[in-house]
Symmetry: C2
Subunit: 80 residues, 2 copies
């Protein structure tokens, strides 16, 4: 079972990496870009076939290691 | 219109960041993790209402700046 995890900065938290990308896009001539936010995308392969167990494991991983819940939100989908 | 872009390493390309996460999860006592791959997730807000134009713009952004197509794949979805 595979988990696809998205970790994004909470709104209101400054995103200098996103700002840098925004300015680089403008410098390359891409107009009409209102905002860019950069986050992380993590794929975890789990040897776990029960979706409920997998869900609670991934949730614990996000809280304990993958996301800094003070400034980041996380969300994940499980796929077979 | 918002683009949700996923940038992932091509298979076969070493992912030291993913390996570090994998080892950290093991050290925290999370068993049964077969592999971890880390990528990037970028949200771009575009002032563009035509989906076709937006799609080609985002594709150009990915090729020219956001993804290193030698070692990375990219994929994106457009949402209103």
């Amino acid at each position: 079972m595979k988990a696809k995890i998205h970790i994004t900065l909470k709104s209101g938290v400054l995103d200098p990496q996103g700002k840098a990308v925004e300015h680089a896009l403008a410098a390359l001539g891409f107009g009409g870009v209102d905002s860019v936010r950069q986050g992380k995308y993590i794929e975890v392969d789990l040897a776990e076939s029960n979706p409920e167990t997998a869900r609670s494991k991934i949730d614990a991983m996000c809280r304990q290691l993958l996301a800094n819940t003070v400034i980041e939100n996380y969300a994940f989908d499980l796929v077979e």
